[in-house]
Amino acid sequence: MSASDTKPSLSSRELPDRRLEIVLSGDWNADSARPSTSEILAKLNPSWAEIGFDTTGLGQWDSLLLTVLKEIGDQCQLKGIKVNRSGLPDGVRGMLQLADAVPEQEGVRRTPPQPGLLEKTGLLAIAAWDETIDILAFIGEATVGFVRFLFGRAHYRRVDLFLLIQECGANALPIVSLISFLVGMILAFVGSVQLAKYGAQNYISDMVGLGMSREMGALMTAIIMTGRTGAAFAAQLGSMQVNDEIDALKTMGFSEIEFLVVPRMLALILMMPLLCVYADLMGMAGGSLVGFGLYDISILEYSQHILARLRFQDFAVGVGKSVIFGVLVAISGCMRGMQCGRSSQDVGMAATSAVVTGIVMIVCADAVMTLIVISMKW
């Protein structure tokens, strides 16, 4: 502040009758350095009968002064010294009274626990077990909800379902197009370098076609949808949790699974196969561009190769996988959203965790399904 400010100072003066007077002077505000209280605090011992204050030299004051006075007051209380506040300005006295008005309740203050290594390991193990139970329970509930839906007994808003279908279907087309087109190009490019060594560049189309339809189309769509839609589901349900909206649904008698989870699952189950086929075709288009650009394979030749080589089963395998992936994306997104805590940070964590859970589940499921498909010779 202005230059005329005087520094805050704190000293003490001994008076007769075992009285100690604390002298406060200068301007006490947040801009000034706080004088040390250690000297005064050291002086406080039960031999004093009373502490008084002299504030004739005191200028401005704010919370800084109050904290010092409170520190001194608390110390005096501890040592059993009487504090006479009559020497303080009215405002200071009033604020101190206010601060003392509601004494701290016993047992309110908490010290964060600091578990040891063994305890931490144990806690982690328990958490992992609980997590497994949670996932299984959620899958179970979702299945029950879905069965109720199939029998037409689930309560949900049809308009929500259509909006969700639009959101996970048509609105996802641009990003799915871009990614699968590029993935098709990459497949073709990487593969053709090897194939060309044996003069087999004509087989680019077979490779891209098989790769996209059996594996990459479904997998890439699933990963895009986890990042795009799974995270959105988790964030949306999470903030509904924060706003008590899910509680409101429950008290109105709706099942949150039927109302929120089943439509989302359904939308993804319906849209993922379509997106997957679309991604397959986009990927093949990407491959044809590489074939045409690098090896002069005409579009006609490329597509004839694909038509001759690809069987219906190849598409069916990819589409089948994509249905399972749709369920997994919906489950991971909705589950993390429903488990969300009640702070804004929890919403962020729910979205992150939905993506992580989703991708882990998708890749694991893909590995298992690929094994099954190969061993069945489909």
Partner: protein, 262 residues
């Protein structure tokens, strides 16, 4: 005390083309507890948002002492805003921080205080609002009334000159609401702060207010101003009378205590 602290001249508030209130003129003096009242949807909270600098007026100005808020430089404006404390309707605490971290945030950002000094100020502010010992709690772990008081503690963190309250007693039980009123009076009496309260709680209005404006949603302007108690006794405008007597327009004195009905 007594000198004009906030002066609002010809203020018109609008969202796009929709005018909320027009031609508002009033003065809040230093040390006033100034009540902004009116029915639901008349623009009370919007007026508050204009005064604390969240929304720019469509027309007119708001002066803090002699400085027009919206004509000031961004730096002056930031300075002014640091001298205001706002207690929001729902507390508006940062849910991912503990109460102590919530209150410490402005202190660590805008002052040169050391860490232990901040800790002591935080404890003091919490003690002032009756929450001693709750430093380590997250907002979700305490009740709505406590959240509101913690929000007030955060509003007071920087020792503001002016405190704004948006519906301080909404959602509080009568006793907590009364305690909050006492706290507001205490802050004014002890610190000489100017306090602006947006509310429609009649008991609070009469208990703490010494100046007020009454916003009318239909005519879209201020239709009465002054000490709420004087308004109750003397104002002849039916709408104001009805509001202050809780719905009855008759002139009985039993209605003066109408706030205790129902």
């Amino acid at each position: 005390m007594g000198e004009p602290h906030i002066t609002v001249t010809d203020l018109t508030m609008a969202y796009g083309d929709m005018v909320i209130q027009r031609d508002m003129n009033f003065t809040v003096n230093r040390g006033d507890i100034f009540i902004v009242m009116g029915g639901s949807g008349c623009g009370k909270s919007t007026l508050l948002r204009h005064m604390i600098g969240l929304k720019q007026p469509a027309k007119g100005s708001i002066f803090y002492q002699n400085l027009s808020f919206w004509d000031a430089s961004p730096k002056q404006r930031r300075r002014l805003m640091m001298k205001m404390g706002v207690s929001y309707q729902s507390g508006a605490l940062f849910s991912s921080m503990t109460l102590a971290e919530n209150i410490a945030l402005p202190l660590s950002a805008f002052t040169k205080l050391k860490r232990h000094e901040i800790r002591e100020i935080v404890s003091l502010k919490l003690a002032l609002v009756g929450l001693a010992g709750f430093e380590g709690y997250y907002p979700a772990e305490i009740s709505g009334g406590m959240q509101k008081r913690a929000g007030l503690a955060r509003a007071m963190a920087l020792d503001p000159d002016i405190l704004f309250f948006d519906e301080p007693s909404a959602g509080l039980d009568p006793i907590s609401s009364r305690l909050l009123d006492d706290l507001i009076l205490n802050l004014r009496d002890n610190l000489g702060e100017t306090i602006v309260v947006v509310t429609h709680e009649l008991p609070s209005i009469f208990a703490i207010g010494n100046n007020s404006v009454f916003l009318d949603g239909e005519s879209k302007t201020i239709i009465a101003q002054g000490d709420p108690k004087t308004l109750l006794a003397e104002c002849e405008i039916p709408k104001v009378k009805q509001f202050l007597t809780r719905g009855s327009s008759r002139n009985d004195d039993k209605l003066a205590s109408g706030a205790t009905k129902a």
